[in-house]
Structure formats: structure tokens, C-alpha cells
């Protein structure tokens, strides 16, 4: 499939649904924290946090996690991967950490994110929320909350655009 | 028959005679023969240049004492491969060549190898310590005609004056050669003082140090009437001082090395220890002045300052590495490539600077031409156009060549010492 697979309205509805699902699964926001994976997961996490706050009337802590130092391909590329900011101004120990990312693909990013989280503390539980699951897992990783399942081939390019960074919300798939 | 050769169809370039013509040159029993001799071995020389064997005023053969760097055998073999039939061996050996016994030892060793004539240079001061005069008289009796403390500058005007004045006693005319650099001003310096040294974090040896030493030496030469020779000039100001001194009638001669004619301080940005030398290579302007000085005769001769060092000594940190480059094997090719072929220096002048002028300064009567009947057959045969890349291993024991990796155009094919081929087909014969 090629072209825009999610438009602005689709993204909004998906994030709203995910927010409800988190509240339902975790029975409210007690002990729940959101950690977006830099850099697109950061804005998505904050939008989910805002939505959750709107629904529950109480704030949920949000942080951003850069997983570059935990990647499994450091030293294999010609340029060291670019580093982003990590800002988690709360303790993750004992919490239900909901990781938020834009696209779930091979699962390696999530593996790195979990290792990073473990170095920051001992979460009680880790869950994963993604806007798009494009398949082709290379590790035994799965998402708890999915905006949309988008079957792709490996050669396809899946791009998530978000308002804060790209001026609009959309998910676009491009065939080679 | 042995000892009989003919160089057939050679372009004979004879700087002393001032001729450049194609002819056959016959050699019999060590001398230039008048005409054809029977059963002579033919050396085809069409398209090749035949010139007087080159004479080097300045080489360090390192024996006795530093045989790990070079020996008289390997050094004279390297000289022969470079087209030299005579070499002046500097006195900074161990023990220092400051008395006749060492002079004899060096000369006899060279004679035994028979690859190149060696003219030992005597030290000016005992042990090169720069304090008291060495036994120059005894060394003159042993045949020495050039004295130098090279390695070191003569430290004071007073000492140079005494040495030049004392030298008047000898019936034979001697020349005192000075490594002209003001010692304290260059102490600790690693390369030419300037913007490059500053950004490389290396202490500098300013050109003024040479200017000061040369000015001092020229004044003393004028004062005493003695014969002064200035080693390895490196700066424009020094050339200018020599030009004026000669115009004033001061008895001074000067030399320049191939590396000072080719490299500048900008070549040192790689911290290449093979380019570390004293005095250092300097700016473009200095290099141009040296070239002009060589062309107009202000600088009389090209000398190699062949300075071999062991491989590990040169693979050390830049500031710990001893200065100097080898040069006997590359001198002629370097001058041809960088000066003669581009038209900066005529071939005749180049050969004068590398053969007849140094022979005259050194008093090496049998060398430097002219190529005429009866004279000793000390000759070099050169292919002006043969290209080659300078890379180790060399004929010299050492590998520290500033020209490593460079492509040169011009190659010695044969060298003849008193009628015997020391080099044939570009290789040493023994």
C-alpha cells in the first residue's frame, strides 16, 4: 500500500483511543508514567499525557528518553548516530512505564529503550504504545497499544509526520 | 683489455673547459687517452651525458664511531651510485677527526674499498668542543685541506679569528668551513621559526641566526685574509651577505644542499622527521634566493650534507629525532628534476656546482675535470631523462631520505674512478 495511510483526524482519534486504553488497562493513572522515545515519541507522549489529563482530570508525569547510547549498531556505521536529549525528571522505580514511539518495526529500538530504562531504575511494569505497527519484527517484542497496523514490505519507507516537528499530522508509506 | 674503455657517442659536458659536445672519450690505464686504444670495452653513451665525476664538499660517513648509521664502505658506495668520485668526510666522528691518525684511518679505509676517494675534513677544535685549536698542522701534513667543526658552529669570533690566522702558517692553502648558525639563538629550535613552527608547537631556529653567524664569519675572513667556506646556506639574507662580500674581495665560498633548494618549512606540517635538518628549510623567498644565488655563482657549489641516521633514531618523536637527511644518491637527480629540467639552472652550471667548483675548493686536483688527455679518468655517465621513485632500501645503510616517495628524473648509469667502473648499469660494481 502506498500513500497517506493516516491523516490528521486518524492520528487524533488513534491517540485518543490509546489514551482511553491505557486508563482502562492500568485502571487509572496511579503509578503510571509516560516516556516518549526521542525524538518523535516525545511529542506523541505529551499529547497522550494531555489527553489523559483531560479525561481523568489529573496529570501524568511525562519524560523523554534518548536510546542512542543503547543501540546495537554503534560502531557499525560511518557516522556515530545522532544523540538527542533525555529528560526524565522522576523516578521510574516501581512505576508502570508506558513507552511511546511513533513506529514499531524490528523491535530493536524498544529493546534499547528497555535496557536504558532498566539503568534508570526498576519499573514495576513496562508497556508499549505506538502510533503505527509496520510488522517485520526481528526480536520478540510486541506493542500493548497500537494506533494502526500498517502492513508493509521491508523496502517500504514509513514516515510519521507530527505537527510539532513537521507542520502536520500524517503517516505516509512510500514504496521504492 | 682491462682498464681500457670507450664512452661512445657521449654528450660530453665539461664545465671547466666550458664545452658541451658529442664525442667519444677513450680511457686507458686510469687516464683519459688521446685516441682510440685497442681492445677497449665499449660503453654505449648515445643520448647520455658524460661529465666529470661529482665532488661532494660535505658528507658524514660516520666511521669511526657511528657505524650503526653508516660506514665508509656503505657511504662511499652510496656516493658512487650517486655519481661521486670524491667526497669530503666531516670530522664529527668518534673519536673526532682532530689528529692525523684518524685522518689516515679514514683515508686508508676508503682507499681499500676503492669506491670513491675520501678527503677527510679535520676538526677546527679539539674534540669539536669549541675551545682549543686542534692540531691542524699535523693534519695538513697528512693531506687535509679543509677544516670544519660541522655539527657545531664555531662558537666565537675570537676562535674563528685564531683558527684562520693560525692557518696562514701552512704552505698548503686550507679552507675553514663553518656551520653558520648563532648557537644560543637557535638553542632548542626544531625548524624554521615562523608561522608554521608556531602552529605546530615547535620551537624555531630563526633565519637571523644564520645571518648573524655569516656576517660575523665574513668580517673575520676579511680581517684575517683567510679562506672561509660557508656550509649549507639556507636563507636569503645570507646569500645577499655573501654576494656583497665577494664583490668586496673577501675570500669566501659557499654551498647549498639539494634539500634546501627543494623544500620549504610548509613541508613540515606532517612532522616528517626526514625533513628535520639544521639549518632548517625555510620560506619560499629563501628558497628562491638560494636558487638565484646558485645560478649566478654567489653560491659556488651544491653539497649534500649527507647525514645518515639509524631507522629507530628517525622513528622517534620529532623533537628527539636527530636532524639530517641522506643525500649522496639523490643529489644529482634532485638538482636535475627541480632546477635543470624546468629551465631554472643550465646543465653546465649544475655540473660546475657539483663537480668542478667543489673540486677546486677542496683542492682535489684529480677531480672535477677538465676531461682532457692525461688527466685521471674520474667520470660520471648520466641518463638525464630516466625516471625513478626514491624509496628504501638505499645503497646507503640509512633510510632517512627527505626525498622518500618523490619521483625524480635523471639517473646515474655509470661512475668511473681513476679508470675503474665503480658503478655500471646503475649499480655498484663492488
Amino acid at each position: 500500500m502506498s500513500g497517506k495511510v493516516m491523516d490528521e483526524a486518524d492520528v487524533r482519534r488513534a491517540l485518543t483511543r490509546i489514551s482511553h486504553e491505557i486508563l482502562e488497562r492500568d485502571r487509572g493513572i496511579e503509578g503510571v508514567v509516560l516516556v516518549g522515545i526521542a525524538d518523535r515519541g516525545d511529542d506523541l507522549a505529551r499529547r497522550i499525557a494531555a489527553e489523559v489529563e483531560r479525561i481523568e482530570g489529573a496529570a501524568v508525569p511525562v519524560g523523554v528518553l534518548d536510546i542512542t547510547f543503547y543501540r546495537d549498531d554503534i560502531g557499525l556505521t560511518t557516522e556515530a548516530p545522532e544523540v538527542h536529549e533525555t529528560r526524565i525528571p522522576f523516578d521510574v522505580s516501581g512505576k508502570t512505564v508506558v513507552l511511546v514511539d511513533d513506529v514499531l518495526y524490528t523491535g530493536r529500538t524498544i529493546r534499547a529503550a528497555m535496557d536504558a530504562l532498566m539503568d534508570l531504575g526498576r519499573p514495576r511494569k513496562i508497556q508499549l504504545a505506538v502510533l503505527v505497527d509496520r510488522g517485520h519484527r526481528e526480536l520478540p517484542i510486541r506493542a500493548d497499544y497500537v494506533g494502526k497496523n500498517v502492513p508493509t514490505s521491508r523496502a517500504d519507507d514509513v514516515r510519521v509526520q507530527i505537527r510539532e516537528l513537521d507542520g502536520q499530522d500524517a503517516v505516509v508509506v512510500e514504496e521504492p | 683489455m682491462r682498464g681500457r674503455f670507450v664512452f661512445k657517442g657521449a654528450r660530453v659536458v665539461d664545465p671547466t673547459a666550458g664545452t658541451d659536445e658529442v664525442r667519444d672519450v677513450w680511457v686507458d690505464q686510469g687516464r683519459i687517452a688521446a685516441g682510440p686504444v685497442e681492445a677497449a670495452e665499449t660503453i654505449r653513451a648515445e643520448g647520455l651525458v658524460l661529465a666529470p665525476g661529482l665532488v661532494d664538499l660535505h658528507a658524514h660517513l660516520r666511521q669511526p664511531g657511528f657505524e650503526h648509521k653508516e660506514t665508509i664502505e656503505t657511504g662511499t658506495r652510496a656516493a658512487a651510485v650517486g655519481g661521486y668520485t670524491a667526497v669530503a668526510a666531516m670530522a664529527n666522528t668518534d673519536p673526532v677527526t682532530d689528529h692525523a691518525a684518524i685522518v689516515h684511518e679514514v683515508r686508508d679505509l676508503a682507499a681499500a674499498y676503492g669506491l670513491c676517494d675520501v678527503f677527510p675534513v679535520g676538526a677546527i677544535t679539539k674534540g669539536l668542543a669549541g675551545e682549543s685549536l686542534a692540531e691542524m698542522g699535523e693534519m695538513v701534513e697528512a693531506g687535509v685541506r679543509m677544516f670544519s667543526d660541522d655539527g657545531n658552529p664555531v662558537p666565537t669570533a675570537r676562535l674563528l679569528r685564531n683558527a684562520l690566522t693560525y692557518a696562514k702558517a701552512f704552505s698548503a692553502e686550507v679552507v675553514l668551513a663553518d656551520h653558520a648558525e648563532d648557537g644560543p639563538l637557535v638553542a632548542g629550535g626544531q625548524m624554521h621559526e615562523g608561522a608554521v613552527a608556531s602552529s605546530l608547537g615547535l620551537a624555531g631556529r630563526p633565519a637571523e641566526a644564520e645571518e648573524i653567524a655569516v656576517a660575523r664569519d665574513l668580517a673575520i675572513a676579511r680581517m684575517t685574509g683567510g679562506r672561509l667556506h660557508l656550509c649549507h646556506l639556507s636563507s636569503a639574507r645570507a646569500v645577499e651577505l655573501v654576494r656583497r662580500a665577494k664583490a668586496d674581495g673577501i675570500r669566501v665560498t659557499a654551498e647549498v644542499t639539494p634539500h634546501h633548494l627543494v623544500f620549504t618549512h610548509e613541508d613540515l606540517v606532517t612532522y616528517d622527521t626526514n625533513l628535520k635538518m639544521h639549518p632548517p628549510v625555510r620560506t619560499h623567498e629563501d628558497r628562491e634566493a638560494l636558487r638565484a644565488g646558485l645560478a649566478d655563482g654567489t653560491i659556488d657549489a651544491v653539497a649534500t650534507d649527507h647525514a645518515p641516521h639509524a631507522v629507530e633514531e628517525k622513528e622517534a618523536e620529532f623533537d628527539l629525532s636527530p636532524p639530517g637527511t641522506i643525500g649522496l644518491e639523490t643529489a644529482l637527480a634532485a638538482v636535475l628534476t627541480e632546477l635543470v629540467h624546468p629551465g631554472i639552472l643550465p646543465l653546465g652550471r649544475a655540473l660546475e656546482a657539483m663537480a668542478s667548483a667543489p673540486a677546486r675548493i677542496l683542492g682535489a686536483g684529480d677531480h672535477g675535470g677538465p676531461i682532457e688527455v692525461g688527466r685521471a679518468a674520474n667520470l660520471v655517465l648520466v641518463d638525464l631523462d630516466r625516471e625513478w621513485t626514491v624509496e628504501p632500501p638505499f645503497t646507503s645503510k640509512a633510510r632517512n631520505s627527505a626525498f622518500t616517495g618523490r619521483r625524480l628524473r635523471g639517473r646515474v648509469l655509470a661512475t668511473m674512478l681513476r679508470g675503474e667502473l665503480t658503478v655500471a648499469n646503475g649499480k655498484a660494481t663492488r
Binding site: D73, T86, R87 | Y271, D319
Partner: protein, 309 residues
């Protein structure tokens, strides 16, 4: 980025920004409980320190360990020549240790560049003779940027023995590259005559310069060696060029006082000036580890052949 970091000239302005941005992330790692990330796990970093410097060596050692690399400390007592071993032989020994990166601190200018001819790993210059000390320059740039929010247009004076200071060279080159305005101040005998070619101003009157500065960077007076040839006494030096309390009071509000350490309190800088809040000397140390982690990460993290996913 280049394979090696030998000199500030190895970095473009973009590279410098990248290093400083990456260092900011490593500062954050340094604030965690577990100050360690697995980024360089399994890599070997050799600290080849021919010159005594516990501070810099520890800084590099911590940087490498916090990246989960293995660290080998190799310090020879004297120069390779004094041990009868060539620099090349020492290099080959380091190579045989499987060093992915060699951090070299040496008293001979140019030795890091010489090393690159004989080893396959990345070479980082931790200070060579009087040539350069690029990691110090970068950590100083980081401190300035963090405190003052920018580098472009900053008015910085570097005061003291510039002639023999590798720190002054690296910092000057780095500041000029990032668009700052640099003035070198000190006794004329200790400022290289060619310095204006580096794109800097030169001054001999510290009192004229101090009131117009964003950063006053004080160099260590080297009391060792034959410095008597360059200036008559430390007393006169302190009077003419030392950052006294009186002079420090003339610094504009919000400007920084910096020093690469170790300080000669009372000579180039008064004790109470060094302890003022405007002095960021302590932070320079903390930033050093982050910068060195950033450099190790950027050099070793980009040593492969593939594309970043």
C-alpha cells in the same frame, strides 16, 4: 568527523557544535545514579600518557569506563628514545593490545600525528608538547556556551604564557572557528609573533582589556624551566598580568573567569578571585568528562561502514 582528533583544525564549526551537543547528553548521563551506558561495550581504549597528568588521565579513564569500554593505562617512565625503543615500536605494542582508540598525552609536539602512521585505531590528542590540547579547548568552549548561551561574538581574553601553551592554541583556534573575538594578553616575549595570523588580537595591557570581556581565561605561569629569560620574576608578572581582586572587579557583570588548572594561586590569579561565583573553574572539570565521552562516542561510534538506520 575525521578518524582522529589531533588538532582543533580537524573539526569544522559543525563538528564542534555536534561535539558540544553530544556532550550535553553525556552531562545528563553523569547526573544519573548509574552513570554508565553500553555504547562502547567491548571496545578498548588505551591511555598512552608519556607525561604526568593524573587529572586528564582520570578524566579520560572515567569517560571510557562510563561508555562501558575497557581501559588500559600505559605510561612509560620516559620517552621512547630514553628506553631505547622507537616511538614506532611503542605504537606497534599499543596496536597489538587491540586498541580501538589511543588517547595520547606526550611532551613532544606532533607525536599524536606520528602515531597515526603506525596504528589502525583512532588517535585522540590529550596534549602534545606545546602544540595542541583539543579536548581541553572543547570543554572550555562547552563551559562558555553553557554559561553564556552562545560562542559567536563572545569577547574572550587569553592571558599569560601563550607561547608555551597548547591549551591557548587549541582554544584560540576553536574560538575563532566559532566566531568569537579573541585577544591574547601577556608579556610580549610570551606571545608568538605570528599569533595575529591565527585570527586573534594581541595586547600587552591587561587593564585595557578586562573591562570589555565576556570571558577572562587565565593561563598557568610556568615557573619551571628557563622562564627567567622571558620575564624577570613571578612578582613582576603577577603585578603586570595577574588577575588580582582589583582587576577582577573591573570585569563586566556576568562575565566568566576560567583557568585550565592547576592554578598558581597568588601568581596568575588571586586566591579569592579563583573562588568567586564568576569563576567556573570547578565546572570545567565536570564538563571535561562529558566532552571526552562525546569525543570517544563520536569517533568510535562512527568507525563502521554501514549507514545509520
Amino acid at each position: 568527523m575525521n578518524k582522529h582528533l589531533l588538532s582543533m583544525h580537524d573539526l569544522t564549526a559543525e563538528d564542534v557544535t555536534r561535539v558540544l551537543d553530544t556532550a550535553a547528553s553525556f552531562r545528563e548521563v553523569g547526573s544519573r545514579v548509574i552513570k554508565k551506558v553500553p555504547a562502547l561495550r567491548g571496545r578498548t581504549v588505551v591511555n598512552f600518557f608519556m607525561e604526568n597528568s593524573t587529572r586528564t588521565r582520570i578524566s579520560f579513564e572515567l569517560a571510557a569506563k562510563r561508555l562501558s569500554a575497557d581501559v588500559i593505562n600505559f605510561s612509560a617512565g620516559g620517552s621512547s628514545v630514553s628506553k631505547g625503543e622507537s616511538l614506532k615500536d611503542t605504537a606497534l605494542t599499543l596496536q597489538a593490545m587491540g586498541a580501538d582508540a589511543i588517547v595520547i598525552r606526550h611532551s613532544s609536539s606532533g607525536s599524536p600525528l606520528q602515531l597515526t602512521r603506525w596504528v589502525e585505531g583512532h588517535v585522540l590528542n590529550a596534549g602534545d608538547g606545546t602544540h595542541e590540547h583539543p579536548t581541553q579547548g572543547l570543554l572550555d568552549l562547552y563551559t562558555m556556551r553553557e554559561k553564556l548561551g552562545r560562542l559567536e561574538g563572545l569577547r574572550v581574553a587569553i592571558v599569560g604564557d601563550v607561547m608555551h601553551s597548547r591549551v591557548a592554541r587549541s582554544l584560540s583556534f576553536g574560538l575563532v572557528k566559532m566566531g568569537a573575538e579573541v585577544t591574547l594578553v601577556g608579556p610580549p616575549t610570551l606571545i608568538p609573533p605570528e599569533a595575529p595570523e591565527w585570527g586573534v588580537h594581541v595586547g600587552y595591557d591587561i587593564d585595557a582589556v578586562v573591562p570589555k570581556l565576556d570571558v577572562c581565561y587565565i593561563l598557568r605561569v610556568q615557573k619551571e624551566r628557563q622562564r627567567q629569560e622571558y620575564f624577570p620574576s613571578v612578582r613582576e608578572y603577577a603585578r603586570l598580568f595577574g588577575l588580582t581582586r582589583e582587576r577582577a572587579a573591573l570585569l563586566p557583570e556576568g562575565s566568566l573567569v576560567m583557568h585550565p588548572g592547576p592554578m598558581n594561586r597568588g601568581i596568575e590569579i588571586d586566591s579569592d578571585v579563583a573562588d568567586l561565583p564568576t569563576s567556573v573553574i570547578e565546572e570545567q572539570v565536570t564538563n571535561g568528562i562529558a566532552i571526552r565521552m562525546a569525543l570517544l562516542y563520536l569517533l568510535l561510534g562512527g568507525s563502521g561502514e554501514g549507514e545509520v538506520a
